[in-house]
Amino acid sequence: MSEEKKKKSLIDELIYDNPVFGLYLGICSCLAVTTTITNALGMGVAVIAVLVLSNILVSLVAPLTPDEIHIPVYIAIIASLVTIVGMVMQAYTPSLYDALGAFIDLIVVNCIILGRAEAFASKNGIAASARDGLMMGLAYTLSVFAMAFIRQILGTGVLALKNPLTDTTLFSLRLLPVGFDIPIFTTPTGAFLVFAILAAAVTAYKNSKDAKAAAAEKARKAAEAKEKAAKAAAAKAAAAAKKAAAAQAEPAKEA
């Protein structure tokens, strides 16, 4: 039972509570870095790194931070981590760093990170915060990957992944025949359109799930009520039987 529950909540965390398509957080970078899956995965890894580390640090300093200045403190932590991640990327993956441009620095103002620091890490322990950061980061990465996957295939017809460390192409697969690609998907227009479709899909999934949950809840309540009624009836019957037995016993006593 707990195993099943865990599995279900994993999918829920990635899709149902998806920070990008479900809660509309961190949209800016999601639209901007999704022209190729290489950029999207690079951005995803950077966000996971910052998110996990910031969650850990925030959960450590939260008990020591006065309430009035907690936002500036968290922002300073996040900004330092982003600077470090940016420097590492500039050193080891220069082409990826150039491709992502200002959006590495703009991880600082990605609402997901400050949001998780504020809503989760400041109230929970290190291990739980690290796990939460990882899950949120994975959900973000899944979102940008899904967008980049669609945009790259439709926009260029080729699905290609580069190794950012050495700048060599890991694989390159032509999925649409030459001349059948739709270049508009590589432009901002395509980004908005793909985002709209995915957001609508996630909303539809959520709606159907909510409807199902509501139906299940209703059925459970109905069953409960039925059971209660049956129990009450049984109790009544038992009481009546008892009374009858007592009534029967009384004349016997008298006699």
Binding site: C28, D105, A200, T203
Partner: protein
């Protein structure tokens, strides 16, 4: 580059929302009503101009002489956060009426990525102080322009019939996509 072409480029050609994808969160949040869109737009113009000029001064008069350019990100974000707080207090003290209408939008601006982007972009582009001011106003003006256009469209969308899953933000993105096509016509302008 002369000032006018900087202005047109930032206002229309490289529109902050449609081609740079910045400031999407407040864009989605407050573009449902025209009055709040105008309020947010004015607040953003003010904050972007102020924060950019102050961070330009900070960069060239404090960070560069001290050799601390790599601290740019941390300094700018803290500066923006405190600037927003300062503006909020200032407006509250001097003009309670303005504060009442802008009040709720001001704290939101700290997390508006456009503010941080403009401050850093001015440094990357090596603008001087006047160019920085012009660029900041143009970017913020482009943001407000989109916000106002969008608010008028979304007020109409509100009452229209559409599948349940598309209601709200998803349909707004479709509108943004169409708008991006329209704005791409400005590409050859500068």
């Amino acid at each position: 580059m002369n000032l006018f072409s900087i202005f047109i480029a930032s206002l229309l050609v490289n529109n902050v929302i449609l081609s740079k994808f910045l400031g999407m969160c407040p864009f989605l949040g407050v573009s449902t009503k025209l009055s709040s869109a105008v309020g947010m737009g004015v607040a953003v113009i003010f904050v972007i101009l102020g924060a950019s000029v102050v961070s330009w001064l900070l960069y060239y008069y404090a960070l560069v002489p001290l050799g601390l350019e790599y601290m740019e990100l941390i300094c700018f974000i803290l500066l923006i956060a405190s600037f927003v707080q300062f503006v909020e207090m200032f407006v509250k003290k001097t003009s309670p009426a303005l504060y009442k209408s802008l009040g709720i939008y001001l704290p939101l601006i700290t997390t508006n990525c456009a503010v941080l982007f403009v401050a850093m972009d001015n440094i990357t582009q090596k603008y001087n102080l006047i160019e920085t001011a012009v660029n900041s106003v143009a970017v913020a003006g482009g943001f407000m322009l989109m916000l106002v256009i969008f608010a008028t469209i979304r007020e109409r969308l509100e009452g229209s019939d559409m599948p349940k899953a598309w209601k709200g933000n998803p349909i707004a993105f479709v509108v943004a996509a169409i708008m991006a096509i329209a704005f791409s016509a400005f590409a050859g302008l500068v």
